[in-house]
Amino acid sequence: MPDPMRIRANVHADGVDVRVLMSHEMETGQRKDADGSIVPAHFISNVTITHAGKTVLSAEWGPAVSKNPYLQFKFQGGSKGDEITVTWVDNKGETRTDKATIA
């Protein structure tokens, strides 16, 4: 199973600041291994972040997003103690969901 994410969500005057780190190789499909054969592409293709049953961010990624991806954004309407849920799916169908409480 993929490693857990690190999620920070903090309330500020102008909204909830969300920062997410994901553990993923993000193989480009361009790299060759020691034997000279191409390492197949393996990357997170979709990310969905929800708060109170509503999507606050969705993303489509290609393999050019850096290894162990990081993203940061801000949304309105969240309060301290609320839960946000982050789900990613990769191009091999692996998925991972983690939750964090807004601080």
Binding site: L57, S58, A64, K67, A100
Partner: protein, 155 residues
């Protein structure tokens, strides 16, 4: 913060298991996978990318603020932040002109989410980083050059 983290680690374990045995989330996961715009992620130039994203043209905009380093010490991780001041911003796309495939990432920002995003992308070489914003179903663009340098003493 530690107990919180451990808690969600356990929780998500449960979710992953449920997804794996098909009780929860698998349909959702599959739907998400289907929502990946393969054609757009295989484009080699801006015009083709815009077309694959459903646009007919693109206009330069001063209302897109990009934060990228002028020089990246390593191309594997180039921090990119894009903020749009264009009303009705729906989606922010990050593209790297000289990568094998130009489109790196697309972020859809529903109402209530600030029209800004920060992430990190790979750059194969010195190139323009391009931010495209879709607002009211029209496309806008801004770009900035990032120099990718060589480092170290062994390579």
């Amino acid at each position: 913060m530690r107990p919180g983290r451990r808690e969600f680690v356990k929780l998500s374990g449960v979710f992953a298991t449920l997804a794996a045995i098909g009780l929860l989330g698998e349909d959702e996961a599959r739907a998400q996978q289907l929502a990946w715009n393969k054609a757009a992620f295989e484009t080699k130039n801006l015009a083709d990318t815009i077309k694959a994203l459903g646009g007919s043209g693109v206009a330069e905009s001063k209302d897109i603020a990009m934060t990228v380093p002028d020089i990246a010490e390593n191309g594997a991780v180039v921090p990119v932040a894009v903020a749009s001041a264009i009303p009705g911003t729906q989606t922010i796309y990050i593209l790297v002109e000289k990568n094998p495939n130009m489109l790196a990432a697309a972020f859809t920002l529903p109402p209530g989410t600030e029209p800004g995003i920060a992430t990190r992308v790979k750059m194969a070489q010195t190139s323009n980083v391009v931010a495209v914003v879709k607002a009211n179903n029209q496309f806008f663009v801004a770009s900035k050059e990032v120099k990718v340098t060589l480092g170290g003493c062994g390579g």
